[in-house]
Amino acid sequence: MRDSVSILIGGKAGQGIASIETLLTKGFKRAGFYTFSTKEFMSRVRGGSNTTLIRISKNPVNAPVYKADIFVPLDTNAFYHAQDRITKETFVIAKKGNFECDCTFYDHDLESLAKSIGSPIVSNTIAAALVFGLLGCDVKVLRGIVEEMYPNELLEVNLKALEIGAKLGEDNGSCLYCIEPTLSATQTKDFFLSGTEGVGFGAIAGGCNFISSYPMSPSTGVLTFLAKQSQNFGICVEQAEDEIAAFQMGLGVWYGGGRSITTTSGGGFALMGEGLSLSGITETPMVVYLAQRPGPATGLPTRTEQGDLELSIYSGHGEFPRIVLAPGDPKECFELARSAFELADLYQIPVIILSDQYLADSYFHVEQFDIESKQPVHHIVKTDVDYKRYSLSDDGISPRGIPGYGEGFVLVDSDEHTEEGLITESMSVRNEQNGKRLKKGELIRNEAIFPEIVGEGEIVVVGWGSTKHIIKEALEFINDTNIASIHFSWVYPLSEAQLAPLRNAKQVITIENNATGQFAKLLKQHGIVIYAHILKSDGLPFFVDELSEKLVSVLKEIR
């Protein structure tokens, strides 16, 4: 019996990897396993070579591994594409002769089998059932899912395929990969969510009622998600002519009292720079979801990187406060997307939710949680005749009025302005207003979410955003009481309270999915000394096995 199994499925775009993924992930979860899935794919609609990795485990599993226990290549290219991920122990399900490897072959031509029951397209169902059977799982569970997925004339042939696959799996008998289910009946009702869906639901919970975006991978998922939910939750959706307009429309919505979000990736975010700045000086709230992919420029459109932290912190001319949030899993995506709206509204600033392709496209087991059903607080005042949009106040926050609600005018200005909101070039007013805006930065710092700390060791491993669970599992694997890990989900601005645990550390090791250690640079600005950086920027996320090795070698140096 095993504690966890990793299953890799490879094939061309359009070959049906996604349907195997759906069948298996749903099946495994219902059969009682902690399940995780992630994908890497090329930037093309047809062809190429893509893979999906599914992991199941007796314990919570929320991160990818590099090496595959079971590999299902749907074509020859898939085999070569994923060659490095195969070991002696890998069980490869494919027709022998098509490829060579020092691995365990399960010689079956799934396509011919599918053809023999009349439909080549059901080879995916055979593959899924075969894997299911190999792991000793109850095929009845899978049957239920097939019935849900194919309620039409395709059902019968798929059920046939299911039986063939399951039988092949069982016949293999050795139970080399068998694994005992652990989830209770209630746990099988936990959520199975991607980062995209986490952000989408969080935005809804935060009262989002408008989205305007220009499509760009890997952010588009949130746009389509909210479009799909539009009627359920009264969300106005408009595809903008460009990212500049997407952001500006959002500002118009907030100015009128609505709550809007825009979604983009680095290239589009670069175009939003002036908008961020406008949000800053006009003190108009705005929420941006920035799903990173590797740059510069078009870079690797469908792959992952944490390369835009600095862009999100420094983009926009002039000086003004902002918040950058970097969730580490779909639950945090939900929570932080929800609070992004509250924070933007309360402090009248832009708030950026920083995710990436890996987190956006990966599915996690998320424990059921209560959605607090407290309506969002709109920090809006009814204006009176003497209303001044930018009245000076102790904390820097001026009560925000909106046009048409009250007896006063709401004047907002991208020029430096008086308390009333009219253009001015008075240096003293400039200093007052600039000071007022920057003062909010101090309040915001006090709100900073404390990082999550695991362990008590003197050597501290630091991560932020999507690497959270990869680091966690790598450290569990290394199992060294001398190491603690700290994960930041609130990455900007940093507070002294957040940094304190790092100041006491003997050595700090930063782990980032980029080439230059952008968060490490930020920490250094705060006087944190970094002992070592572990970086990766090839377009893929870290893998637990890979990261563990890298960590072990850094730890060796320390000792």
Binding site: T188, F191, F192, L193, E197, F201, G207, N209, F210, S212, Q229, S230, Q231, N232, F233, G234, I235, C236, V237, E238, A240, E241, D242, I244, A245, A246, Q248, M249, G250, L251, G252, V253, W254, Y255, G256, G257, G258, R259, S260, E274, L278, T282, I371, S373, Q375, P376, I402, P403, G404, Y405, G406, E407, F409, V410, L411, V412, D413, S414, G421, I423
Partner: protein, 286 residues
């Protein structure tokens, strides 16, 4: 005439004699005479001399960035459709920096009065060519004169089937006010391009030049005839002024987005979150 849209302005940044003063006066009077409530009206503007107009009015104002008035105005209109929303700026602002937004706004057809002060020059930045500068117009940058054909906003708007396309002249008070009133009353997008002399940086297209180079469309002109409207749009020296094109009825942005999302008429600030529904939707992701 005094209006409820008047503001006491101590320090106006426009040059004496500038056509912007007339446009400001005509606009305030037109709004007043149409019975609009300043508190329920908003002027969104970009950056430039023209874009300073709302600074000199009693009205809600969003003075945003160069070129970006239209997207902000559209967002505002969807956010609260009961507001009267004007997007105002210069020829550089709307047709140059904001050119893509101009085309998209025409097609989206939100109820927005898009007022463009067309002085055929960049005023605020001291006299460079604008998209509407005429060929041969010399500037410190275009030292040998502009060598491209001017952008034709009227023809462009007609080709995109704008809901309403108007041209007028700041120096013709009656006409300009009458046109503004037609624009204010219209449901859907309106382009109102107003010829406006810049006394400081455009010594070619002066008050007299505009006066000599425009003529009013007669009552028998039918603005619903698209091909005729195109012909009119291509005429120059003299340029026709009046309602040049009136498109067939079409979908209005704020109505469409609100129908599609079932938001109804209420402003978005009064929306609440259906948490029970959220729970139900999330249950589908188990």
């Amino acid at each position: 005439m005094t209006t409820r849209f008047d503001r006491i302005v101590e320090d106006n940044a426009w040059c004496p004699g500038c056509g912007n003063f007339s446009i400001l006066a005509h606009l305030k009077e037109a709004l007043e005479e149409m019975g609009l409530d300043p508190l329920q009206s908003a002027v969104v503007s970009g950056i430039g001399q023209a874009a300073k107009t709302p600074q000199y009015m009693s009205v809600n104002m969003f003075n945003g960035l160069h070129g970006r008035a239209l997207p902000v105005a559209q967002g505002l209109k969807v956010s609260n459709p009961s507001l009267t929303v004007i997007a105002e700026g210069g020829d550089g602002d709307m047709y140059g920096e904001g050119g893509n937004h101009f085309m998209a706004a025409i097609r989206r057809n939100a109820t927005i009065i898009n007022i463009v002060h067309n002085n055929m020059v960049y005023g605020l930045t001291k006299g460079q060519a604008s998209p509407t500068s005429q060929r041969g117009f010399k500037t410190p940058v275009q030292t040998e004169g502009v060598h491209v054909e001017p952008f034709n906003p009227i023809a462009t708007a007609i080709s995109l089937d704008a809901s309403l396309v108007i041209r007028t002249f700041s120096g013709n008070k009656e006409h300009c006010k009458a046109m503004l009133k037609i624009a204010i009353e219209h449901k859907g997008y309106v382009l109102i391009d107003i010829f406006q002399p810049c006394v400081t940086f455009n010594k070619t297209n002066t008050f007299k030049w505009f006066k000599d180079n425009v003529y009013e469309l007669q009552d028998d002109y039918d603005p619903t005839d698209k091909v005729k409207a195109f012909e009119k749009a291509l005429e120059s020296h003299p340029f026709p002024i009046g309602v040049i094109y009136k498109g067939p009825p079409k979908v209005i942005l704020e109505d469409a987005l609100r129908d599609e999302s079932r938001v109804g008429d209420k402003p978005l600030y009064s929306s609440t979150v259906d948490y029970q529904r959220l729970g139900i939707e999330m249950e589908k992701y188990i």
